[in-house]
Symmetry: C2
Subunit: 454 residues, 2 copies
């Protein structure tokens, strides 16, 4: 019946919408989010999975959540194989000797200790390499020169990053002894962008590195002159042993249905080159500060809110997978979830992945965000990388989409540092997250579950 | 008498002003300037004084000037003591261990091979260090945190750079064992800016390096927490032997008074970190392309024009000093001179240092530049760093002042690469230089000589 459907349709009490608006305005007047990122980047800095920085970050996360007065703070183990960056150098040997700036891609194997010298063979992009004749790169170093395009939504990343992930095995399949890609980034700084790559089974593992944009330009300019270009690359990276890090979790425990909870989170690990301010210190600051504002209310929300600082997102969403596995028997307790992992630009849109009957409620939530410049988008949210494993188990998710126009200027480079964060934009993010978290914890009804993933 | 004065007042023939305007428009339609910088940065790249890149640059310069058809091409020796950059690393040891990005300052001594660890003592600027009590930095590493201000005319450089030049000896005088300065630059990229420093006689030589801006921020943030901050720095730099490089000179030989000549020039050397596109490949491209346009005229100008590619500007104006010394007996042959050494931004003003009677002629010259957005400034031109020694011998000079708003974002860093040059702005520079060089070679009368330097 119509009345039964109405009963099931999720909604928010007027009083809760009012509190959400107040929390939003408090967020806009608080610098706690920035203080948290400043603390993480200053007191911990780089925190690549499996390094001492990783351990320091876990310790920092637990201490910070306790210091902020979360009702419960705990960790859950996350185990993975580590990778260690070693020396990384490259230079043009001939015809125009000069140094090149590179960085090894995550999980690259090493070159021989005294380097690998070979002629360069250039490809426009990964497809050109895939479509090239067998053996074309025999004994050579493949250079893929494709450029990532700048976009607010980061949509240039997907097409470009395939060269990073798959380039090495595709190159090896054509006989190459090494691969250099133009960095997956939108800047023209002389810094190379790291990030994960993977070797296909049964294909020779060859060393893989990214050139900074100016160095990729340089190689192109040399190659255009028509003489063979010989490059020497030296990579000292190696796989390490098993390591157990931890997801760090802080809970605002609900007053009515404490077992039901909303997840807001970010990943605590970073790459090693920068201090991980944008990726993903910003997300840690935003979500932790949002929950802290809710802790400041006179009473706890009806449901719980969990801030999850995921371990080792960078090298394979390992923390996200571990959380989904550890909580697989209680997936229904997760009301909904959103991860902040796209830097510190302002949020401009909120997308959902909820049951159709819940969309009117999402739009009500979006209205509270409207003064922040945020409008409702669509019902095809992804929710964030560490939520992929939980999404696979059917949870509803939200994407609070940030302006990522500049994100890939700094992404996975030494330039990912605190000065790149605009405190005002960060506050706007926190304001949106506190609305999302508080209203989701207070809502009448639910966002649904059992969504299929594409 | 009035008529005698009028006779002596320099002037330009109408026909010459017309040719100058034509040359200007040709320059705006030529990409030769950019092609020259592209060639230098691609085929030579970094060319720090005394390195193989220096030798390659001299070879390149001679070949390029010959290829372009200069009437005479020759080199003149320039001898100096070299400096070699070695390993350069730093890290915070306590209380928050993490790496720091540094670069050694030119002519810094090394630390012990396994590094130098000491507590940091922070000063606001060089004056604060100078005014501090005796012995205040005993056994410590001094950190000077002053920031350079951005300005179109680069006026923030002078006040800030004193910390780089004099910081080490001032710190050593207070007992310090090392010094770190915030990079002299206007960017917030995680790249340190190198550049010369000097040790005072009779004071202990301590290792000196610059921190990137984000790393200087990081140190400040750590220090603000109040606990002692210990840094380890490792510098492997050392002084090398004597080396003889060369000024490379190309001449457009005058048709009437070939022994009289106008100098346009730039420095051929660069620091080692970038490819020296802005500093000073741009100047090489601008001045060489300007002279080449004059070579393309149906007849040679009355006087000669010399393009001088100065050796080793960076480590003490050595090429400029050598030229002044070698030509000291024929200073009067130098009609006037201008060096391009401030990047590739558009020229917005022309200043002169000429006899007062010549100022109306300079204003006529400036009128030809007006369509380029250039106006006459004043009669207090400096002329450029490599012209300082010639200025000391009384020559007239011109400063074609470039927009340097962004210059110190890249100055002396790995980021000084070709992509930072806007080809259109470069052409505007060439257009101004060709007007200056041609009209000066054609003028009736002279700009005067015997100017005293402040
Ligand atoms: Zn991330
Ligand atoms: Zn990342
Ligand atoms: Zn210079
Ligand atoms: Zn310089």
């Amino acid at each position: 019946s119509v009345s039964a459907m109405a009963k099931q349709a999720p909604s928010f009490d007027e009083a809760d919408l009012k509190v959400a608006a107040e929390l939003r305005d408090q967020a806009l007047n608080s610098s706690l989010d920035y203080e948290i990122v400043e603390s993480l980047t200053t007191e911990v800095g780089p925190r690549m999975a499996g390094t001492p920085g990783d351990a320091a970050a876990v310790k920092w996360g637990v201490a910070k959540l306790k210091e902020l007065g979360f009702d419960k703070v705990w960790t859950e183990p996350v185990t993975f194989t580590t990778w260690k960056r070693g020396v990384e150098m490259a230079e043009v040997i001939a015809p125009y000797p000069q140094p090149l700036v590179i960085t090894a891609l995550g999980f690259s194997v090493a070159t021989p200790e005294d380097g690998l010298s070979a002629e360069i063979i250039q490809f426009d992009d990964l497809d050109a390499l895939k479509n090239a004749p067998e053996g074309i790169a025999e004994g050579k170093i493949v250079f893929i020169k494709n450029r990532m395009e700048r976009a607010r939504d980061g949509s240039g990343y997907g097409p470009a990053v395939a060269a990073r992930g798959q380039g090495a095995s595709q190159a090896a399949a054509k006989g190459a002894v090494g691969i250099l890609i133009r960095s997956i980034g939108t800047d023209s700084d002389r810094m190379a962008h790291t990030g994960m790559m993977r070797y296909d089974e049964g294909i020779k593992k060859i060393p893989a590195a990214a050139l900074s944009a100016p160095d990729a330009d340089l190689l192109e300019n040399m190659i255009r002159r028509g003489k063979p270009v010989t490059v020497k690359m030296t990579i000292g990276a190696k796989q390490g042993g098993e390591y157990t890090s931890h997801n760090v979790i802080g809970e605002v425990t609900g007053s009515e249905k404490p077992e039901e909870y909303v997840i807001i989170g970010a990943h605590l690990d970073s790459w090693d080159l920068g201090t991980g301010a944008l990726d993903d210190g910003a997300g840690i600051g935003i979500t932790t500060a949002a929950a802290k504002l809710i802790l400041g209310l006179p009473e706890r929300p009806k449901r719980s809110i969990r801030v999850i600082m995921f371990a080792n997102e960078e090298q394979g969403l390992v923390g996200g997978k571990a959380y989904a596995e550890a909580h697989k028997d209680h997936i229904k307790n997760i009301i909904t979830a959103a991860e902040s992992d796209f830097g510190a630009g302002k949020i401009w849109r909120i997308d959902s992945k909820v049951k159709p009957e819940a969309i009117p409620a999402v739009k009500q939530m979006a209205e509270v965000m409207e003064p922040l410049g945020i409008s409702y988008g669509n019902n095809q949210a992804g929710g964030g990388p560490d939520l992929i494993p939980l999404r696979g188990k059917g949870i509803s998710v939200f994407s609070l989409r940030q302006d990522g126009t500049d994100y890939f200027d700094y992404h996975h480079t030494p330039n990912d540092t605190l000065d790149k964060i605009d405190p005002e934009a960060l506050r706007q993010n926190t304001a949106a997250y506190v609305i999302f978290a508080y209203l989701s914890a207070q809502m009448n009804g639910d966002f649904g579950t059992g969504f299929h993933q594409k």
